[in-house]
């Protein structure tokens, strides 16, 4: 586990704040407003974190690099290359020579140090507002093990991101997805998990039976998925480490996994009987299921609002797939999608402000967002097949998959800002689809 600790690193936040008025009169606080469309990424410098001992040098370099990759990967920040640096940080506690960093136009400076003691690793960092010549927040220290060193880097990056944007971070998080291999007509699909950046992938099912559509709990502790182990699609629950696998009893002919309730003790399934599919709320402990929709339509892909009070799902009750919102207890759904085309796979933002979806129109697939009342629809991507958006823990980024056409085609996982900018592929070993993003890890 990674534990934040402030021991011994308090920089005197009040003193820093007292120093600010002088600078604040000259400029606004160092802050990137990510809602306003960042055209020019904020330049920052991140000299290699100082190794407390020679044994820590390798990890110090790697932690620095992962942290830099996290920040640059957002599209909001630009790293000033090391070779352009004039200043050197050889001692984490020595005063910073701001002139050296101002001269290369670094607006933010990240300094850090890494200590290794056996399997224990600690990473400390400070964030500096170069032009204000002041620290931005307190120094922080994170403790972990050598096996979780990437999490330490993500924790530092999350703290930096959070201070510079005012938003929560999203780097220290996990993603459940489907790893795919083999020819298109007989493709093997297995459930896997990875870090948000594609690192540390672990396959959880053996691929002998089709496994589809994982839903990751926000705690990242468990995963629901749809598996064909019995020959027919049914819902399985599995621990994020691969243990505790359990088949959930089905009340119909087939059942598909939807989203977890916020309490993670219940989840939504779509259950099919006689060609009609309805939404069920299932208690994961007892298996007890309660129908929330009734009828002959295909109601499927249900997920909860973050407060657990509402459910968004897709239904073809009006003739084609459209998005509906209903109370968590069931009852009349209100249609919220009214644009051209079909709408599917709705996912409520953890911030509550938007619903992401797949839209099919004019033979193209899009990832889009709209407000929960259906207003403000914006399409963020377009391709032959874009599908299955899943929210970053901070509700600012979406992960989805894009499948290329034809015999040799296959899916890859991407991220995109809710602004539609900064489309990036998440590196995976082979074809990968159906990402489901956890919340920020504890």
């Amino acid at each position: 586990m990674v534990r934040p600790s402030r021991r011994g690193l308090l920089l005197g936040a009040s003193a820093a704040l007292l120093a600010r008025p002088f600078a604040a009169a000259a400029q606004a606080p160092l802050r990137i407003e990510i809602t306003e469309g960042v055209i020019e990424p904020m330049p920052f410098a991140a000299p290699a974190f100082v190794a407390d001992t020679p044994a820590a040098e390798d990890l110090a370099a790697r932690i620095t690099q992962v942290m830099v990759d996290d920040l640059v990967g957002t599209g909001l920040f630009r790293e000033i290359p090391r070779q352009a640096h004039l200043g050197r940080i050889g001692n984490f506690d020595a005063p910073v020579q701001f002139a050296d960093w101002r001269a290369i136009n670094a607006q933010a400076l990240i300094t850090g140090a890494v200590g290794v003691n056996g399997d224990a690793v600690s990473a400390r960092f400070r964030l500096w507002d170069v032009f204000a010549q002041a620290p931005l927040g307190e120094g922080l220290r994170f403790d972990g093990s050598t096996a979780t060193w990437r999490r330490l880097a993500h924790k530092v990056a999350d703290a930096v991101y959070s201070r510079l944007t005012g938003e929560g971070g999203y780097f220290d998080s996990r993603v459940a997805f489907v790893t795919e291999s083999g020819p298109k007509a007989t493709r093997r699909k297995a459930i896997a998990v990875m870090d948000y950046d594609g690192a540390n992938p672990v396959t959880l099912t053996d691929g002998s039976a089709l496994a589809l559509g994982p839903s990751m709990a926000r705690s990242a502790q468990q995963i629901l998925f749809t598996g064909y182990e019995s020959g027919k699609p049914a819902v399985y629950l599995i621990g994020a480490g691969g243990g505790g696998r359990r088949a959930m009893a089905s009340t119909g002919e087939i059942s598909l996994a939807g989203g977890f309730a916020p309490n993670e003790a219940q989840a939504l399934f779509s259950v099919s009987k006689g060609g009609a599919s309805n939404i069920y709320l299932v208690d994961l402990g007892s298996g007890q299921a309660r129908a929330l929709t009734q009828g002959s339509a295909i109601d499927t892909a249900p997920t909860f609002s973050p407060d657990g009070g509402q459910i968004v799902f897709e239904s073809d009750q009006g003739g084609t797939q459209q998005l509906y919102v209903m109370p968590a207890g069931g009852g009349a759904g209100v249609r919220i999608s009214f644009g051209e085309g079909r709408y599917a796979t709705p996912q409520w933002s953890p911030r509550g402000d938007l619903i992401a979806f797949t839209k099919i129109v004019g033979g193209r697939f899009h990832i889009g967002v709209m407000r929960p009342d259906g207003s403000g629809e914006r399409l963020l991507t377009a391709s032959y097949l874009d599908e299955g958006p899943s929210w970053a823990p901070n509700g600012r980024v979406l992960m989805f998959y894009r499948e290329t056409p034809g015999e040799a085609g296959g899916p890859q996982i991407y991220t995109v800002d809710i602004s539609g900018r900064n489309l990036r592929r998440v590196p995976t070993a082979g074809f990968a689809s159906a990402p489901s993003w956890s919340g920020l890890l504890a």
């Binding site: 559509g213 002919e253 598909l256 099919s272 599919s277 084609t320 797939q321 796979t345």
Partner: protein
């Protein structure tokens, strides 16, 4: 070759249903077999290998009906073929499973449900024609098991299908 198959299917239909007044099956549009691919020369070899749509065991009755985009109702052509399948089922014992499939132009989860509904449509029709409900199981694979992999309608139409799979027989 297609003509041979249709004639045979019509013959089986006639035998199974007696003096049926139903019009002859007019086209092969309900079949997903590939004309000229050698699949109709005889019954040997079915059930193995990458045959795009097979036949019911010991017959020339196609095992696959196709559907229009995002539709689950049986076309007249599909009904003609399912009628022939019903004839075969009434003459042969054993359980079957109807597998529903979809093309890749819909989302995964919806397509699984769409496949389930296609399978149910075939089952319901068979039951209405006298096949005992208990003999017919259904399953769905959505878009996960295409028989044709190109990126245009010529392939998508083949993948929007329901396949009648005889337990222990062809088409598995």
């Amino acid at each position: 070759m297609r003509g041979t198959r249709i004639a045979a299917a019509a013959l089986v239909l006639g035998l199974a249903l007696g003096a049926c007044a139903r019009a002859p099956i007019d086209t092969g549009a309900g079949f997903s077999g590939t004309p000229g691919a050698g699949a109709l020369d005889g019954s040997a070899g079915f059930g193995t290998g990458p045959v795009t749509g097979g036949v019911l065991p010991g017959s020339t009755i196609g095992d696959t009906v196709q559907f229009a985009v995002d539709q689950t109702t049986l076309s007249p052509q599909a009904i003609g073929l399912v009628d022939a399948q019903v004839g075969w089922l009434l003459a042969n014992p054993g359980a079957i499973e109807i597998e529903g499939h979809a093309d890749e132009r819909g989302t995964e989860q919806y397509n699984i449900q769409l496949g389930a509904r296609r399978a149910a449509a075939v089952r319901d029709y068979m039951v209405s024609r006298g096949v005992p409900d208990g003999r017919i199981g259904t399953n769905t694979f959505g878009r996960a098991r295409p028989v044709a992999t190109c990126a245009d309608e010529s392939c998508w139409s083949q993948n929007r299908r329901a396949v009648t799979v005889v337990a222990g027989g062809a088409g598995v």
